[in-house]
Assembly symmetry: C2
């Protein structure tokens, strides 16, 4: 086998009370990535889309992740990668994670599957470091494992895949730009112990609710009084979208990643469609361009096409 | 039925990364509490032990909890309670919770079981408020439900019983006094966001580990860098007890409640005995009086004898 194509899913990280540790995978949108073994050493990147991402492998998140894997594997040959991105960079649903994960999962298949999924998360984090300046795994871990994944620790890497019932998500992506540096600068350095206690109580309950399939408990525990109050201000219509979504039957939701996308979890496809319609109605009033989509939670992560 | 006797178990709260929200019940020690319906209204308390607790029901945690239940129930008769405490007050394993919970569970049985366990937790919290000045539920909820219980929220009360594998605990009670006010004064008002993130990542993982019965993950996630570093200083030998316990095979552990007791979770009775022996060896060196015990996690909470 000298060529392989994978689908690499969008992911939602910073899941409300799970700031910096909890994410999940979406069935759509996804990127399609083909990786080939090439006889010459080095990594070549071809972008088969209009996003204008760098083709220099040292400046490309997938290139950096592939480099990390190739260096570890000590292969003599090179890799060529053709990326057909459908996940818009900067939208807040794990576009860079999809690129990095798709590349390393495909390359691993070409190498006979020598690496575990956890090791692939480790390589993909090199891409996240290039994209955001920090080695975080709450997009790459769900992208590779699928479903909901808790990242207990980044160093050492400790990834905990969670059971969850079948769930759907409605996502809205307002066409505004939020600079990661701006979203990061808003984060408080310290938080009141009382708020922190409420947050970990909520995260504990949310994780149990996922494991038990208790959507009512999920709903009660999807509360974030630490990050959302500051980052929500960057997203026009944030509170209205949430209120309309909950009124339309959403379990709960919040900011996806550091925004500008917002997500809402729903029990069924029908519910997610109703929530998307409610999101649409709110945003049509704002005059801001946006797009919305509906997707089941993707259970398996990056997969070979 | 005009009289009933219950056994009310000791409990461990503030379970490492579960500060202020996670507790579990022990099979021993326990209090034995008899409640009788008496024709005259009001509450009378007889203490059948040597702890010298107040018999004025307005100053007694069980009296206050019984009062809360009786007022809500609007009964015309009174209650007489005989308390045979074995859980030493102030030891940090939920002595006041055992009194309050035993009283309200017994009274509820006498009233035909009209209240749910969650409602009984609510009444018992009145006792905790008298004992400590705050309405917390992380001892009373596991005392009434048994097993591990996560308290997502106190107001409104939201109690989440957790699945867990069969586990044992080794507990050491150094005979020193830690004033609740002193333990409370040490708590930081604010905590670094990064520490808080690590704590909720650990709590999420610990709760999943309990649900899945993954003792290795439990072990990795039993980390507290927020409360333990300050409160641990009040307990002589704290770090030595932990190190010796882990070396003897404990899964993990920490301060029970606000101390001075320490607990260690273990996979088997044999392991818990070995850990208790290790605790004994550490404390024999200190010259401080202490006692240790070994108990399975109690799965059902207060029970009728």
């Amino acid at each position: 086998m000298t060529e392989i194509t994978v689908r690499s899913p969008a992911t939602v990280s910073n899941v409300v009370c799970g700031f910096d540790c909890l994410g999940f995978a979406l069935e759509s949108p996804y990127d399609e990535i083909t990786v080939r073994i090439s006889p010459e050493p080095g990594i070549r990147i071809v972008n088969n889309d209009d996003f204008g991402l760098p083709t220099d492998p040292a400046l490309n998140v997938a290139g950096v992740a592939l480099r990390a894997l190739a260096d570890d594997a000590g292969v003599g040959h090179g890799f060529e990668m053709v990326s057909s991105k459908r996940i818009k960079p900067g939208s807040g649903v794990g576009s860079s994670a999809a690129s990095a994960c798709g590349a390393v999962v495909a390359a691993n298949e070409l190498l006979g599957g020598r690496y575990s999924r956890k090791e692939l998360v480790h390589f993909a984090m090199a891409g996240e470091e290039l994209a955001s300046g920090s080695r975080h795994a709450d997009n790459v871990a769900p992208c590779i494992f699928g479903g909901f994944v808790l990242v207990r620790s980044v160093d050492p890497l400790d990834v905990v895949p969670l059971d969850c019932p079948p769930l759907w998500a409605a996502v809205i992506h307002p066409q505004i730009e939020i600079k990661t540096s701006e979203a990061r600068a808003l984060l408080p350095k310290d938080v009141p112990l009382r708020s922190a206690v409420r947050n970990w109580s909520n995260l504990g309950a949310f994780v149990v609710a996922l494991e038990k399939g208790d959507t009512k408990l999920m709903s009660r525990s999807m509360v974030d009084e630490i990050v959302e109050p500051v980052r929500g201000t960057l997203i026009p219509g944030f509170e209205q979208v949430r209120a309309a979504s909950l009124a339309a039957g959403a379990i709960g939701g919040g900011i996806s990643g550091s925004g500008p996308s917002m997500f809402m979890l729903c029990e069924t496809r029908e519910s997610a469609v109703a929530v998307r319609d409610a999101m649409d109605a709110v945003f049509l009033e704002t005059g801001i361009d946006f797009n919305t989509y509906v997707s089941p939670i993707e259970p398996n992560g990056v997969r070979v096409v």
